[in-house]
């Protein structure tokens, strides 16, 4: 069948088409963006870039005697299951208290919907692991790092506590430390990480990148809001 006579909007197959002649400027931009996206994905998943960034953002621990151990919140499910981050921080705080680095253990965290509060679940865990009830203080009315610093700062000032071991993950530590120092406390970092900053698996590196980017955005937000 003759197929040469066609309407104008169908391009004849054999004419060479330059790369850009039929590609709009907008499509070009999308392709460049896509190329950047693919390169970034490969860089994040298969190079040590996320490890370097996570290490750059991290604060190392300084485990010395203090007057209280403050364990920052990280989430609990509606049926009272601590998230892995929350559990790891709680365990670190309990271990430090049991080693005698501080007598007081401050556990924070609100509830998710109508479930038990993170602070209460952690306190129960601490008691089960041998921490005396008298040594445990809970603070449930806190939803952000800033609120934790303000409320716990006031609580500890009433008890004449000035020096604390602060437990959170190493990328979060710098921002948290500054907030707690702003309310007049001397802060010793005690990190508890859910993922190692040396993790070399692609999935691990993507997770590290997510954590790092989240913390960078949070720091920018806190700076813009004047909290840091």
């Amino acid at each position: 069948m003759e197929s040469r006579e066609r309407s104008d909007d169908v391009k004849p197959r054999n004419l060479p088409v330059s790369k850009f002649s039929t590609v709009s400027h907008w499509e070009c931009t999308c392709r460049v963006l896509g190329l950047v996206g693919v390169i970034l994905f490969l860089a994040f998943a298969f190079t040590p870039l996320p490890n370097l960034l996570a290490q750059r953002l991290a604060t190392p621990s300084r485990l010395e005697r203090a007057e209280a151990i403050v364990v920052l919140g990280a989430g609990v499910s509606e049926d009272g299951v601590l998230g892995s981050n929350s559990l790891r921080r709680a365990i670190q705080g309990i271990v430090l208290q049991r080693k005698g680095l501080a007598s007081l253990l401050v556990l924070t965290g609100p509830a998710t919907n109508k479930g038990p509060t993170e602070a209460a679940v952690r306190a129960a865990l601490a008691r089960d692991l041998g921490v005396s009830q008298d040594a445990i203080i809970t603070e449930e009315r806190v939803w952000t790092t800033r609120e934790e610093a303000i409320r716990i700062g006031a609580l500890l000032r009433d008890r004449q506590v000035r020096r604390i071991l602060l437990v959170t993950n190493s990328q979060h530590m710098e921002r948290a430390r500054r907030l707690f120092e702003r309310v007049g406390l001397e802060v010793l970092p005690a990190t508890a990480d859910d993922i190692s900053d040396s993790d070399s698996s692609p999935e691990g590196r993507l997770e590290l990148m997510r954590i790092a980017l989240q913390e960078i955005i949070a720091r920018l937000y806190y700076r813009m809001a004047g909290y840091l």
Binding site: E27, C30, G34, F46, S201
Partner: protein, 112 residues
Amino acid sequence: MERFFVLILVGFTSVGAFLVGVGAIGLSRECLRRAIGKMLNGVGWTLIFFMLNLTVGMAIVLVGRLLMRGFVPLYLASDVTLLFLSLLQGLTFQWWREWQTSSGGQGMGTGG
């Protein structure tokens, strides 16, 4: 070696697909180049929708905190499923534009 396993695996299957495509099915290299261009286009649209979703999500959370005077976690806007859903949005939008462009306005509203 383990950290590059996924990359090697995908490289291997990609080379296999190329050989099958060119050798057995008779696909052209020129069309492969265009397909890669389209793939990058799709990734680009995905990123646009992802950034849009992130920005709008964070704005909604911050406004929600002000209006409700209660706490809404910012992490709601950064759920990992957002990336996959942005991919669906990006691909759909890309194909919608291309279909509209290739139709040239003819057959608008008809079922194909």
